[in-house]
């Protein structure tokens, strides 16, 4: 009977939650400009430089601005910087800053703030997980209040993408010097400022009246409610208490789609889901075996059943990236061919491969169950072993102690973020690929880089250290009242600047 306890808890929490938001209602009129958002967990900190947690950036996206931002076509566009140029030797990057941008504390943005921000990350003992990404910066100069120059010690093209990511947020210099506690009280130039953070309950964002973008934001307030139980989020959306929810489980997709007052916002993520193969282990060291395994997996079915749909990819890049190369026709789903190939290599019944799966990711576990079945169909015995996340990181990802494993590689704005060490744990290595990646890092010219990466992705698509499954859809549940909702490409954070409520 114990197993029914969670259900009782859900009902309890649900009741409390509904009671809570109802009493917080107040006047109807002002409510129509207050957006109620449900997110699945509490950010560990609100300091953008101190964490790699996605929940932090989900909240901070609307509190901070970055110099540049990712655009629809997968390139990089202006934000706090209106313009930038690189010197011919790729060692000097000059950014021109937007005029009349104000921080939440009233001070005006200047090149000093930009300098102080990145020096804070690079400072000795900063402990920022993003230090490495900015380590090519040798010096930051400020020739004028609206001009900032990054001097690099080596050409490093991926820097621009780092500046466009959430951890490239610009902080005010005065407060940095005062050693202000950004972790609890963030101050930025973004469309909203954090006015209240009630732990395990909600984060209140109030409109920043002096926001630089014309006509934005349209909302007065955003309440970011922390709701860990997916069914409570769904119920909140359907009952009208929530306008935006970040968790829609596979079983609930249809519920939201069919609800009268809610709709589903769907976007492809930059995640690349894979079945990774340890190419040091027999028989996975034989390319023919890896190719056979690729033929054995029905990628479309796995995406649909285990991951709520998505788009199949054929190589180690998400299909929306401007660098993507379509190699999906190389190893189509063909179990008969897979069986023949395995037989030709001489795989017998004695071979049992272990699929290590991080136990906390339910969809990966479900995908593993499908791989297990599909591989047994073509005569390859597998066994699932669940491991906890920290064991997965230490043994599988860092230690390469596995045969097969199921995981998703998060998208990085720059292809280098995925390719520089993303396949190291498969023990697959190719000198040509290493050289091409190194070369692409040294040039910031798009066409040249695209050519180099095309080559890399073709080799990766042919040699298959992975079964590249695809990118899943990201679902956001929206109230019928919400207008102008957008998700940042690749970063997958919510942009509330254009949002209004009917």
């Amino acid at each position: 009977m114990k197993v029914y306890m969670p259900t009782a808890a859900i009902v309890g929490v649900l009741t409390l939650f509904i009671a809570g938001t109802a009493s917080a209602g107040g006047q109807e009129e002002s409510r129509s400009r207050v957006l109620e958002v449900g997110i699945a967990g509490e950010p560990d900190t609100l300091d953008p430089q101190a964490t790699s947690g996605t929940l932090t950036f989900q909240v901070l996206r609307n509190v901070y601005d970055t110099l540049v931002v990712p655009t629809e076509d997968g390139r990089i566009g202006p934000a706090l910087a209106t313009d930038w140029e690189t010197s011919d030797d790729e060692l000097r990057w000059t950014f021109t800053l937007r005029e009349e941008v104000r921080f939440h504390n009233g001070s005006e943005l200047s090149s000093q703030d930009v300098k102080a921000t990145f020096e804070r990350i690079l400072a000795e003992g900063s402990g920022s997980p993003w230090k490495e990404e900015f380590s090519a910066i040798e010096e930051i100069r400020t020739p004028g209040p609206s001009e900032v120059v990054f001097e690099l010690e080596r050409p490093y093209a991926p820097l621009l993408s780092s500046l466009a990511s959430g951890w490239g947020a610009i902080l005010p210099r005065e407060l940095i010097e005062e050693e202000h506690d950004f972790a609890a009280d963030p101050v930025g130039t973004g469309p909203f400022r954090v006015t209240n953070w009630v732990r395990d309950n909600r984060i209140v964002l109030e409109r920043h009246d002096q926001y630089w973008m014309e006509g934005a934001p349209q909302l007065d307030r955003v309440n970011v409610n922390i709701i860990t139980e997916p069914s409570v989020q769904i119920q909140g959306l359907i009952s009208g208490d929530l306008h935006v929810i970040d968790t829609v489980l596979p079983g609930d997709v249809d519920t939201v789609r069919e609800a009268d007052n809610a709709r589903l916002y769907r976007q492809l993520t930059a995640l690349v889901l894979v079945l990774a193969m340890n190419t040091d282990r027999e028989p996975l060291d034989i390319p023919e075996v890896r190719k056979a395994i690729n033929h054995a997996i029905d990628k479309e079915a796995v995406l649909d059943v285990a991951y709520t749909g998505g788009e199949v990819v054929g190589t180690f890049m998400d299909s929306q990236s401007p660098y993507y190369v379509d190699t999906t026709d190389m190893y189509p789903y063909d179990p008969d061919k897979a069986r023949e190939m395995l037989e030709a290599v001489g795989i017998d019944d004695d071979t049992t491969l272990e699929i290590a799966v991080p136990q906390n990711y339910e969809f990966h576990v479900r995908a593993a169950e499908m791989y297990d079945e599909m591989l047994s169909e073509v005569g390859l015995d597998t066994e699932i072993r669940l491991v906890d996340w920290s064991t997965w990181i230490s043994d599988v990802y860092r230690g390469s102690k596995y045969d097969l494993t199921v995981v998703g590689h998060t998208g990085k704005l720059d292809p280098d973020g995925r390719l520089n060490d993303g396949f190291d744990y498969t023990n697959w290595q190719d000198d040509e690929v290493d050289e091409l990646i190194e070369e692409a890092r040294r040039t910031s010219e798009f066409e040249t880089r695209k050519e180099l990466y095309t080559h890399v992705l073709e080799i990766l698509g042919r040699e298959v250290p992975f079964v590249y499954v695809g990118s899943p859809y990201l679902y956001v549940g929206l109230s019928e009242k919400v207008r102008g909702f957008e998700i940042d490409p690749t970063l997958d954070t919510y942009d509330f600047r254009g949002v209004s409520l009917e």
């Binding site: 009977m1 114990k2 197993v3 596979p250 136990q359 079945e373 669940l386």
Partner: protein
């Protein structure tokens, strides 16, 4: 009233016995009884309703037959129950007897260890053991077995201490009977009733713990079926296919209920017979 109550009790008892016998038989003969292979996925037939296409209880999110998975899942449940009780009982018996017969320092030391184990919340201790030794059914069996050892040890020790002082036991020892003979002839027959009652209660608890651990992803490893694991998977489809959660939930509930009813009846019966004996003794 008395007769009505006892009639209801009897009916419940028989129903429980029949349920458990059927469950054990079905689990033992799973390949013969199950209508489908519990592992075969049919992505064309996901979430099929009960009774359609020959699936008595429908299919799950991978198109696997739910009834077959329930039957195979019973294997995991019963294996854990029997093994865990077996481990707890044997360990508890040895520890309880040694403590009860020795007294003094060994007794205190053994009981201290048992109290230490007893002081942990059961599920927490099970999670700890499984996390240290790895996820899996075998680990769960050992963990549950160790967790319930103190209960048996205490029971056996208490009875040993009591029986040991009886005049007829002292007499037989005075006549030179070796300790093992004393245990076999005098102590064991006296502890047996309590142990049997405790074993059936422990079995029920083991079923729940196995389900809980598998629900948390620490017990039975997918794709192997287990009731706890079925509940875990069903959680994502509560609104779409509530049956997926209902059937394994009912199976767990009925199993635990049946075991408790039987334990209840056994304990009543033993205490009644003890009373009769006492009465006969005092009359004499």
């Amino acid at each position: 009233m008395q007769t009505l109550a006892s009639r209801v009790n009897n009916t419940l008892l028989y129903a429980s016995l029949v349920y458990l016998v059927v469950l054990v038989a079905a689990a033992a003969a799973a390949p013969l009884v199950a209508p489908f292979d519990p592992f075969t996925q049919d992505l064309g037939a996901r979430f099929v309703a009960p009774g359609v296409e020959g699936h008595p209880l429908g299919t799950d999110d991978f198109g696997r037959d739910v009834a077959s998975r329930l039957i195979y899942g019973a294997r995991a449940t019963l294996t854990v129950g029997f093994t865990a009780v077996g481990i707890a009982l044997s360990l508890g018996l040895v520890i309880g007897l040694s403590a009860g017969l020795s007294e003094g320092l060994p007794d205190s030391a053994l009981m201290l260890v048992m109290d230490a184990v007893l002081s942990f919340p059961t599920v927490l201790l099970a999670i700890t053991v499984v996390t240290i030794f790895g996820y899996g059914l075998a680990q769960v069996m050992v963990a549950v077995g160790v967790i319930f050892t103190p209960v048996f040890a205490r029971l056996v020790r208490a009875e040993t201490l009591a029986v040991k002082r009886e005049e007829y036991v002292e007499a037989s020892r005075a006549l030179g009977s070796p300790p093992l003979r004393t245990i076999r002839l005098h102590i064991l027959p006296n502890v047996l009733p309590q142990i049997v009652v405790q074993a059936s209660i422990t079995f029920a608890l083991a079923v729940v713990i196995e389900a809980s651990l598998s629900f948390l992803g620490l017990g039975t490893q997918p794709p192997n079926p287990s009731w706890g694991l079925m509940l875990k998977d069903a959680r994502n489809y509560l609104l779409r296919a509530p049956g997926l959660a209902l059937y394994p939930g009912i199976a767990v509930a009925l199993t635990v209920l049946s075991l408790n009813i039987i334990a209840d009846w056994l304990s009543n019966r033993f205490s009644a017979s003890a009373r009769v004996q006492q009465r006969a003794y005092s009359r004499r």
